[in-house]
């Protein structure tokens, strides 16, 4: 009798130990629902919080105020350290308030293009081909109870994510983007956040900054003409290799800020990670092939010959460098 009791206890303990070792993968439907709720929370909730954002070696603190007023999303992002910078978004209109000489100001001409709502619905169903979503129990962020979720890549062509979702509202409280070695390349984390009625509409008003510059921008469907008769066109290029699960998300002819040069832009996504491939005519001042990294974002360039012309191809995205190199190496002219 006592022997029997002991063995059944052992089985229970053993089962518990096993389940602790291998966290349960969420059923696809559950994972989808969870991530969809997270996306909705960003857009539909009223929140006012302070978060830190670490990207590589940079650490930034920002305040975000988000409120839906008369059915319209209003958002205000305030940089709390360094040069003052505020980004206000009212529906599809974006306003940047910066000090002269701000990096973002030099590039402001092309700040968001296309309606925010355009591709809002992500196909989370696709994720299951490339990622395994696991529930990791509970955690605590910004003084709030959080549900922990790991989004693990199934191959070496993409990064993984660790997410902390507010248990009450599903708002993303903390996210980490991690490479195959478990190193954190990018961390986003709320330090404090208020929800609902606690979010005052006056918090959406910008602070006046002496000497600042303001630029108003209205979002358009397409920011520039799409002229495929020019020297650069999007349907002229193809990639001989794509990491499994990645599909073309958009294709555009963009006008690069500053240089005013046309650049073919092709965006690929696996539903979570995104990279852009750009092709432009080889600038007359030439270009060194190079690799740049900003936290999770890799950027590389290489020269491509097509016909009698030289082009400069670049890849920018949040994917591992080896995958990026392989993709760019496979760029071919049609």
């Amino acid at each position: 009798m006592s022997m029997q009791r002991c063995s059944s206890l052992c089985i229970v303990v053993g089962a518990l130990a096993l389940s602790a070792l291998a966290p349960p993968a969420l059923a696809n439907a559950d994972a989808n629902a969870l991530l969809m709720r997270m996306n909705q929370a960003f857009a539909e909730l009223d929140y006012d919080g302070v978060f830190t954002y670490a990207n590589g070696t940079d650490l930034t603190a920002l305040r975000v105020v988000h409120k839906v007023v008369d059915g319209q999303q209003k958002e205000r992002l305030v940089h709390l350290n360094g040069a003052p910078r505020e980004i206000l978004r009212h529906g599809e209109s974006v306003v940047c308030i910066v000090m002269p000489g701000d990096d973002i100001a030099a590039l402001e001409e092309s700040i968001p293009a296309g309606p925010f709502a355009r591709a809002f619905v992500r196909e989370f169903e696709r994720l299951s081909d490339s990622y395994r979503v696991e529930a990791m129990g509970e955690g605590r962020v910004a003084g709030r109870l959080a549900t922990r979720v790991a989004v693990m890549p199934l191959d070496e062509y993409r990064y993984g994510y660790r997410l902390w979702l507010d248990t009450g509202t599903s708002l993303l409280l903390r996210s980490e983007l991690v490479n195959a070695n478990g190193e954190r390349l990018e961390v986003f984390q709320f330090s404090q956040v208020l929800f609902g009625d606690a979010v005052n509409a006056t918090a959406l008003d910008p602070e006046s900054m002496q000497g600042s510059m303001v630029s108003h921008l209205t979002l358009k469907g397409h920011d520039t003409l799409v002229d495929h008769s020019g020297p650069v066109s999007t349907n002229q290029w193809r990639l001989s290799w794509l990491p499994p699960g990645f599909e073309m998300a958009s294709m555009d002819l963009r006008r690069k800020p500053a240089s005013k040069q046309d650049v073919a832009s092709m965006v690929y996504s696996d539903g979570l990670a995104t990279f852009s491939v750009f092709v432009e005519t080889m600038p007359l001042d030439g270009s060194a092939e190079m690799v740049a990294r900003n936290g999770a974002t890799i950027a590389l360039t290489r020269a491509v010959q097509h016909g009698s012309r030289s082009y400069l191809a670049s890849l920018v995205g949040e994917i591992p460098e080896r995958a990026a190199q392989r993709v760019l190496a496979g760029l071919r002219g049609r």
Binding site: T57, L77, D103, G114, A292, A299, S310
Partner: protein, 216 residues
């Protein structure tokens, strides 16, 4: 000299400066002799590079002889290639693990865009042509080309300071475009934060340096 001022100077040189940047450079230059000196040297380097391009294209038919221009520029850049290995040894090897990049050192080359680096490039020009230090820009343009075209062609190196700076600006602009695209598609998410926190690129490894190091 501040990093920002250096970037402004280079923007002015690339004709990409806005009114504010131009004003800042002019104001600083009027008060700072070192800056004027560096400004002069940057222009000299650029003039030499441009002189090389133009001289190989009779009649200014730039479109037609693009390959000539590129070939000549490659030789000029090879001639101007600065010794980077010694400097790289002192650089912090963060960000990209060395093993992943074939054992090549990873350096923040932007940090090396200093007066010293400019001086090294200028020294290289002086070795090639002692006349370069005297005279104004048009004379430089006239004497430079025949001298440089006698150099042996070499693999395109990390390029001149102006080239790398331009390449860096190009990558920054593309990075911003990328952030915008993803931010537009995912409102409020981290991708929007990436755009909102946009700043100049920091760690950079010119791919050509990797090749050179491996070939030795």
């Amino acid at each position: 000299m501040s990093e920002q001022l250096k970037e402004s100077m280079s923007a002015v040189m690339d004709d990409e400066a806005d009114a504010f940047e131009l004003r800042r450079v002019l104001d600083e230059a009027s008060a700072n002799e070192d800056l004027r000196e560096q400004w002069h040297r940057m222009h000299m380097v650029r003039d030499v590079l441009r002189a090389g391009s133009q001289a190989s294209v009779p009649g200014g038919a730039t479109e037609l002889a693009e390959s000539d221009v590129l070939a000549l520029r490659a030789r000029v850049q090879a001639a101007l290639r600065e010794p980077v290995d010694a400097e790289q040894a002192d650089e912090p090897l963060a960000v990209v693990p060395a093993a992943k990049s074939g054992g090549a050192a990873v350096s923040n080359w932007r940090g090396r865009l200093t007066g010293t680096a400019v001086a090294l490039v200028v020294a290289a020009i002086v070795v090639v042509n002692g006349d370069l230090l005297v005279g104004d820009a048009p004379e430089v343009a006239q004497v430079a080309t025949p001298e440089f075209t006698t150099l042996q062609p070499a693999a395109v190196g990390p390029g001149s300071i102006a080239t790398r700076e331009a390449a860096m600006r190009r990558l920054d602009a593309l990075r911003m475009l990328h952030y915008q695209t993803t931010a537009v598609n995912r409102p409020g998410a981290v991708s929007f934060v990436r755009m909102a926190t946009f700043g100049r690129s920091q760690p950079v490894r010119p791919a050509a340096v990797t090749d050179t190091a491996e070939n030795r």
